[in-house]
């Protein structure tokens, strides 16, 4: 198995595992942390593609800023549900954490240290990024030439995200009026009592994501929505 294949498979596994964790864990903190794993996995994939800048942005902005903000919010709202820190909810949790941590580190190192020749085995269909020019410049240039319009209209998306977050976070000013249309389970499933101050951190989040992430700007919104 070639190195890039190995890297891809492992990083992909981490991504998927993290994503599953986001959905499956019952503890919100664990959800947020699983998200970090996914984001890291993506960062590794970026590195494997020689997109170092993107990888860095991925780690700094997403993992570093956004998820940390999520964690802040979660912590501030209080993780009141009984968390028995002494007992591992999952057997071998700590061991697994160590293994995965080391794996990610190792993968990053492998990806970083192995040259472009090793990482890119067969030529891609598209032209490879030229290594003569730093990828930051390349991204910048792409953003301000070919994708300038896409880059600009991202602003609208972010505005919508902010407005939407504020609107949805506002506490409803009256009783629920359509309880009779439900059989009850749906009501339980939906957390109606939304915390009123979620809006602000979300707003910051959306703004914080602005500078770095160029074209694929949907994730902040997805995350915002998913987080509640």
């Amino acid at each position: 198995m070639r190195v890039e294949m190995f890297t891809f498979l492992l990083a992909g596994l981490i991504c998927l595992g993290g994503a599953l964790g986001v959905v499956l864990f019952r503890n919100t903190v664990h959800n947020a942390l699983s998200l970090v794993a996914t984001l890291f996995g993506v960062a590794v994939l970026f590195i494997a593609q020689e997109a170092y800048f993107l990888a860095a942005v991925q780690v700094i902005v997403y993992a570093g800023a956004i998820v940390i903000l999520f964690l802040f919010v979660i912590m501030l709202l209080g993780v009141d549900r009984a968390d028995q820190m002494g007992v591992d909810p999952i057997v071998g949790q700590r061991t697994a954490a160590v293994v995965f941590g080391v794996a990610i580190l190792g993968l990053s190192l492998v990806a970083l240290l192995s040259g472009p020749e090793v990482v890119t085995g067969t030529p891609a269909t598209t032209a490879a990024l030229s290594s003569d020019i730093p990828d930051v410049n390349q991204i910048g240039e792409a953003l301000f030439t070919d994708y300038v319009f896409a880059f600009e209209i991202t602003a609208v998306l972010l505005t919508i995200a902010v407005v939407g977050a504020v609107v949805l976070a506002r506490r409803s000013d009256g009783p629920v009026i359509d309880e009779d249309e439900f059989d009850g389970t749906a009501l339980d499933a939906l957390a109606l009592e939304e915390p009123s101050d979620v809006g602000d951190p979300d707003q910051d989040t959306a703004d914080g994501a602005d500078p770095g992430s160029g074209a694929d700007e949907t994730d902040p919104d997805d995350l915002e929505e998913a987080s509640r």
């Binding site: 020019i133 309880e179 249309e181």
Partner: protein, 525 residues
């Protein structure tokens, strides 16, 4: 995997020292994106104005602003349309924005849907004790996304347009804060919408991998010049993109969200979703599949689209007739209408595209009008949507019942309404391609769905009082509080009625426009 690596694709210039040469920043032609800009600026200005003013502005102000903005956007398309007709299509902003008749026409359709929905929203918000210019802001911004999507000449821009469009609608669907079903709808729409966006994005990535470009004109040229030895990647990309678009236009089997969301969302928002969002989704579908992959890959995607169309037609109409909630009925009927429009896509011809566009225009009026009536009948609480709630409407509100009848008959394709000609054009386009069986299926499902519209008419006109023996001449009593028709909603219904009938009686001007509204991919400057 492919024979030739395209030489033109890399974006990297030859120079080694990037600081030495100034960036070749493309010319920014603001006028080319004028309609989208008008909508964006209108939305953001509205937000700014209402945040700066101390006293809350009257609710009519928001609606008027929105209608004015959308009207301005329509006006902005006129000189551009003239330009396209005179000088041909062009693409601006480094070839990412296509300026052609197609995009301008869809822009118009989306703006019309915004106008109608905003007019409905005005009375709705007052009735439901909801406040907020945010509804209108989100709607305007969402429409700008739809416009961007319609004029996208680049898959990335297309995707961004789709997200702008969708994210705002996710929020709008959930904005009736006191209705749990609204929140449920928003959540459902969001989760499935994000899911479908991921599919679309994946498809875009695979297509990029196979063709080396996200630019539609680039892809078209590449495929015209090169023959892919192994096109698995591209086919997978096409399939994923089709799934993504299928979700957006609510085609079976990607329709699961539509009934719940249409039913739960605030009714004017449902109107906007059925009209505007669908139009934008189809614009993307047409541009990517018919225009970009039409010349080279028609044989591959056409059966897929045709299958989606037939499934949508059959499932949409059959499921619709067993519903008892009128909003849900309309949702299923909108699925079957999507099937009809998909047939226009499947024809993969200019006639098919024109037919689909005409259908979208007519459908905007029909469905916005239908949901408009449903908005009013829902009354305070937006909860009276059962078929029972329409019993005896013809006596309580004869005008409203008649207008609803016109919309319903138009949807079933009765002549002298736009609905008939819309179906007529689609049938013509697919018969022209020799797809007789598809045409027959489409018409027969139209009969099935006619049953559903008749059920509503029966409830409004023929039904006796609840529990009475059938055939008694005792008229049914209209239950519940009286139906109030706010002026703005009345205007919206009037506009929709005029649109539905005018397009059926004097379709000439509209068909001339749809005929000229062809999509062309031009390589940017």
């Amino acid at each position: 995997m492919i024979i030739q690596v395209p030489p033109t694709v890399p974006v990297v210039p030859e120079q080694l020292d990037p600081s030495a040469v100034p960036l070749a920043v493309p010319e920014i032609v603001w006028s080319a994106v004028a309609p989208a800009l008008v909508l964006m600026i209108g939305g953001i200005l509205l937000l700014t104005v209402v945040s700066l003013v101390r006293k809350p502005l009257p609710s009519w102000f928001h609606a008027t602003w929105t209608v004015a903005t959308a009207t301005a956007a329509i006006c902005a398309t006129v000189p551009l349309w003239q330009r396209v007709q005179d000088n041909g299509a062009s693409s601006e902003m480094a070839g990412t924005v296509g300026l052609d008749g197609f995009s301008l026409f869809v822009t118009g359709v989306i703006c019309v849907s915004v106008i109608l929905a905003a007019l409905l929203l005005e009375g709705y918000l007052r009735r439901e004790d909801l406040v907020g210019p945010e509804w209108y802001v989100l709607m305007l911004l969402s429409a700008s996304g739809g416009v961007v999507m319609a004029s996208a000449n680049d898959l990335i821009v297309l995707f961004l347009g789709l997200e702008i469009l969708s994210v705002a609608v996710y929020v709008l669907a959930a904005m009736h804060s006191r209705r749990t079903s609204s929140q449920e709808a928003g959540l459902k729409y969001f989760v499935l919408g994000a899911f479908s966006s991921a599919f679309l994005l994946y498809g875009i990535a695979l297509t990029y991998g196979a063709t080396g470009s996200t630019n539609l004109a680039g892809i078209q040229t590449f495929l015209a010049d090169n023959v892919l030895v192994d096109n698995g990647l591209l086919l997978a990309g096409l399939a994923f993109m089709l799934v993504g678009f299928g979700f957006k236009v609510a085609a079976v089997p990607f329709h699961m969200w539509a009934p719940d969301v249409y039913q739960g969302a605030p009714t004017p928002v449902s109107a906007y979703m059925a009209a505007g969002v669908k139009a934008a989704g189809f614009a993307g579908l047409l541009r990517v599949f018919v225009t970009t992959f039409g010349p080279t890959y028609r044989e591959e995607w056409m059966p897929m689209v045709a299958a989606l169309a037939v499934l949508s037609l059959v499932v949409g109409s059959v499921m619709a007739i067993i519903q008892t909630n009128v909003k849900r009925m309309l949702a299923y009927s909108s699925i079957s209408h999507a099937g009809f429009i998909l047939l226009g896509v499947a024809a993969a011809s200019d006639a098919g595209t024109s037919a689909a566009l005409f259908y979208l225009l007519v459908y905007t009026f029909m469905v916005a009008g239908s949901f408009g009536v449903v908005t009013l009948i829902g009354r305070k609480g937006d909860g009276r949507h059962s078929l029972e709630d329409y019993r005896g409407l013809s006596r309580a509100r004869p005008g409203l019942a008649l207008v609803f009848t016109v919309f319903l008959l138009a949807q079933s394709g009765i002549p002298l309404t736009g609905g008939f000609l819309a179906k007529f054009y689609v049938i013509g386009a697919i018969v022209d391609e020799g797809l007789y069986a598809l045409a027959a299926v489409a018409m027969l499902t139209a009969v099935i769905s006619a049953f559903l519209y008749l059920r509503v008419i029966v409830a409004m006109y023929f039904a006796g009082p609840a529990g009475a023996e059938e055939g008694s001449e005792e008229p049914a009593e209209f239950a519940g509080p009286p139906v109030r028709i706010p002026a703005a909603a009345g205007l919206a219904l009037g506009l929709a009625l005029v649109g539905t009938l005018a397009l059926g009686i004097v379709p000439g001007p509209a068909t001339e426009v749809t005929r000229d509204a062809t999509a062309e991919l031009t390589v940017g400057n």
